[in-house]
Subunit: 252 residues, 2 copies
């Protein structure tokens, strides 16, 4: 078992790596369309096709949120599922007690998924929930209480932040106070819970299927968001992209 | 990292624990109905209601199969998902190279789910597939090849064995030679794979949802199978059940 402070640092490294992915706007003064134009020659057709396929399937209508997860491997695993299933945003609410908690670490679980996500980190559930609500999201927490509805009754074509709590204690009281609804994955065995990475994958898979069934498509980025994200993916995919763009600007 | 031979023993312990769950027929010469009658007074109403709810949702129409998984924790995690989602049978095809492989172990991942499953262990994919086909199952392997169909195109109200391969190398050639079909979980990100416990949970969740949507119910055990399983669950749930049954038989 690694030293807790090592593990705290590991979580910080994962989140820093996730947050430091350069946004198209940050990486260059160039408009997204210019970034795309300058970097396109450096991408194979196969890579470009892959990027277009991902863009077509991306959504910000459903936003995964994890709260107070102490195991970096678990956060990475949820990121990996979220990215694989076409979700673009990813919120992390830090665990107030993190410094006191024994961490377990994992470096490879995410397979670099954090590189492709828009990860935002919050100190408190209230701050995260307030921002999400300002942006028009309802906050749904996966949590068993008397008011909890089965996952299948939710309409995931509506803007929804879906929150997964701590692996041992579930969602915090502070988070539940912010919830517009609670929901559960229906289960029918003696086993009454899933581990966090399994629960999150099932819920996100369900949300994607629900969207496909209701409206025929999962991805729904508007053209300008798609163009900005295309520039971002190009920046992530080309070696020394910053140098190439600097040279292109000098040549103007 | 534990010693590989320790880990091999750990996998053997898990499977032995799973297989040693006493069948109603083995545990006593009594018919299932008598076992149920004698043990019922020793169960709370709450426990009995839980057992009835589980029985009502149990199915053997879809059978999860894992092949060559080297990490005991992964087998346990898939068992836990299978049990939680109402699947009764569970097949394990051993990894021929197991003795040469570095294992990682886990004791708590299954939460004892193996206790409630009918676990069968096979030495080879061919032996397992032959038996399954004799019983009327088609063998579907989760594996990406040219013939692979999206998960959503399968009808899980048809008897289906759904196979998950080794965590690193996927399904073996010997297994693929036995497959009636291959299928994939559709994904739309840069991340192109799930880990085994996530993949299995998503597929089994999907299978359950598919069955509910097509026929309105997941569980489908006939009355006699349900009665035998009720006796099995009662035996698993009552302390010193064998003593109680022996006493009851003496009193006849």
């Amino acid at each position: 078992m690694p030293d807790p402070s090592d593990a705290t640092r590991e979580m910080q490294r994962l989140l820093r790596r996730a947050q430091s992915t350069p946004d198209a706007a940050d990486a260059s003064d160039l408009p997204a369309a210019d970034i795309v134009r300058h970097l396109q020659p450096f991408l194979t057709e196969r890579r470009q096709a892959r990027i277009e396929a991902v863009l077509e399937e991306r959504t910000t209508t459903v936003v995964p949120v994890v709260e107070g997860i102490v195991n970096t491997g678990n956060v990475s695993a949820v990121m990996r599922s979220a990215e694989a299933l076409g979700f673009h945003q990813f919120h992390v609410i830090m665990n107030a007690a993190a410094e006191d908690t024994q961490f377990k670490t994992s470096r490879r679980t995410s397979q670099g998924a954090e590189k492709w996500l828009d990860v935002q980190v919050w100190e408190t559930p209230a701050a995260c929930a307030r921002r999400l609500r300002e942006r028009g999201y309802r906050v749904v927490v996966t949590h068993l209480d008397d008011a909890a509805v089965p996952l299948g009754t939710l309409d995931f074509t509506e803007p929804t932040a879906i929150v997964f709590g701590n692996e041992r204690d579930g969602a915090s009281e502070a988070l539940l106070a912010e919830a517009d609804a609670t929901c559960i994955v229906p289960m029918s065995g003696f086993t009454q819970s899933f581990n966090i990475s399994v629960a999150a994958a099932v819920v996100l898979y369900h949300a994607r299927e629900d969207r496909l069934r209701r409206q025929g498509h999962h991805g729904d980025l508007p053209a300008d968001a798609k163009e900005a994200l295309r520039a971002h993916y190009f920046l992530q995919s080309v070696n020394r992209a910053a140098d190439i763009l600097a040279r292109a600007q000098e040549e103007v």
